[in-house]
């Protein structure tokens, strides 16, 4: 085979023992399970969700540790100090491996908090805190599931809270131990069974207060992963306000008391909701009644509409008639006024023309013309002793030929007319 040896197995076993005992001494923390005792030693396993180590402690060392009575028991969280050891066995005795604990103490709050913090970071990193918070929580579930201890005060407080809410639906109890190493698996199972029921609309997980060690079941990794993945909202109310368990982080809602958990599981205050519904009903009644009553005047007005429209039109027409008449009268008056104003202007201008500075000059010229005219009048000549010869038609006869032609003429003197016969007197002419 090309490997060293073969060596006698007993020698190899002792060598293995030496090598393991040389390994560094450390402290381990975990949960104690499978405790048994011989005359000189106590045996147990120390485990957590990731693995386990078989342990042994001499009874002398265990006594020196000063644990309380029954301190080293199944489910106890302890811190041990020591290192790995190997018992090679013998002719009759079986070999065995164990972590040889030389010191042991109950895990303190700090130890648990450190483990809790590491687990919290891990689950948060995987996004498991957000899943439940995204679920819809019905405000008025008809059925809720509750995981708690059957005889615990939390049960009574939760019922009182539901009663105060005015809620009296159906509660399905998933009773489970809430404080020992059986607790986490039992609680996980009850939650899963409740979530499998379609009528269960929300699940409450609750227990009263205690030390972190007491509440440690609610920090169980499997339990918390189960809760995170459920499709039913989980309301966690574990411990008191100051206690912070891992289930608080993964649940849909974390409450400080079972009473608050009742309010979170049934968000609706049923008493208040009935009052609100009554108010809504009244509002609806008012709205419906008001919608009809409020429109009656309008409808009545609409019914009277035609008569009113006619009256309005008639009034309008009358008004327009009056306006037209008034406008017409106003037009006539305006035209009269205009003509009067025009006449006044014309007369004024005429008067001005007549009474102007040329008047005297014109009047003098007129008198001169009159005198000149009168000087040419035949009457003036007749007054001086001349006679005017006129024919039978009264036309002047101004030459001898016309007088011969006329034969009979009229001689017009200033004081009257005298007929005359034309006679030829050739001698005188000669």
């Amino acid at each position: 085979m090309g490997l060293p040896g073969p060596f006698p197995v007993g020698r190899y076993a002792r060598k293995l023992q030496e090598e393991l005992r040389r390994r560094a001494r450390v402290q381990l923390v975990g949960e104690v399970t499978g405790v048994s005792r011989s005359k000189v030693q106590a045996y147990f396993e120390l485990r957590d969700p990731e693995g386990a180590v078989p342990c042994a402690i001499w009874l002398d060392d265990l006594e020196k540790a000063g644990l309380p009575e029954g301190g080293l028991r199944d489910g106890a969280e302890v811190v041990i100090a020591g290192g790995p050891d190997y018992y090679p066995g013998g002719g009759q005795a079986s070999p065995s491996f164990a972590f040889r604990a030389t010191h042991v103490r109950l895990a303190g709050e700090g130890d648990l908090l450190a483990r809790l913090e590491a687990l919290r970071k891990q689950l948060q990193g995987e996004g498991l805190f957000a899943l439940q918070k995204q679920l819809r929580r019905p405000v008025l579930p008809k059925t809720i599931g509750v995981v708690t201890a059957e005889g615990g005060a939390a049960r009574r407080d939760l019922l009182a809270g539901l009663e105060r809410r005015g809620w009296a639906g159906t509660v399905v109890w998933g009773f489970a131990p809430v404080q020992d190493r059986r607790a986490a698996p039992a609680i996980t199972g009850a939650i899963q069974d409740l979530a499998a029921r379609p009528e269960v609309e929300a699940i409450v997980v609750t227990r009263g207060g205690g030390s972190l060690a007491d509440l440690w079941a609610f920090c169980d990794e499997t339990l918390c992963r189960t809760v995170a993945m459920l499709r039913v909202p989980v309301v966690a109310a574990v411990g008191h306000e100051r206690d912070s368990t891992l289930i608080d982080d993964v649940a849909a809602v974390a409450c400080s008391t079972p009473t608050h958990a009742a309010e979170a599981a049934v968000p609706l205050d049923c008493v208040g909701a009935r009052a609100a519904l009554g108010a809504h009903t009244a509002s609806l009644g008012r709205a419906a009644g008001g919608a009809v009553r409020g429109r009656i005047p309008h409808l009545v007005a609409l019914a009277r509409g035609p008569a009113r429209a006619l009256r309005r039109e008639r009034l309008g027409l009358n008004q327009k008639t009056r306006e037209i008449r008034a406008a017409s009268e106003r037009g006539v008056a305006e035209r009269l006024g205009f003509q009067r104003r025009l006449a006044t202007v014309v007369l004024e201008r005429a008067r001005n023309r007549a009474a102007g500075p040329d008047m005297d000059r014109r009047r003098a010229a007129l008198r001169r013309a009159e005198v000149a005219l009168r000087a040419h009048q035949p009457e003036r000549t007749l007054e001086r002793g001349y006679a005017l010869v006129e024919d039978g038609a009264g036309e002047p006869v101004t030459d001898a030929a016309a007088a011969r032609a006329a034969a009979h003429v009229t001689l017009r003197f200033a004081d009257g007319r005298v007929g005359a016969q034309i006679e030829e007197d050739d001698e005188r002419d000669a």
């Binding site: 019905p138 405000v139 008025l140 008809k142 599931g145 019922l159 539901l162 009663e163 005015g166 809620w167 009296a168 639906g169 159906t170 509660v171 399905v172 109890w173 998933g174 009773f175 009850a190 069974d193 409740l194 029921r197 049934v266 609706l268 049923c270 909701a273 009935r274 609100a276 519904l277 809504h280 009903t281 509002s283 609806l284 009644g285 709205a287 419906a288 919608a291 009809v292 429109r295």
Partner: protein, 74 residues
Amino acid sequence: MSETPDSYEAAVERLEQIIDRLDSGQAGLRETLELCSEGRELVTYCTAELDAVSEGLKELKLDELAAKLDASAA
């Protein structure tokens, strides 16, 4: 209301929308009467839901529930 609401909260949300619309005074007569009718149906639904959780607390244990289901299945 043509269909049953999904949940009590959905019914109340719609009911409050209706009341707001009616209070705004902007709904016409036909809309007002339709909203009032829908609102009354929602109130009836919500009242029935409240009645369903008001008839006295019923308590069951998980194993009893399982037995009941087995009996009904058989």
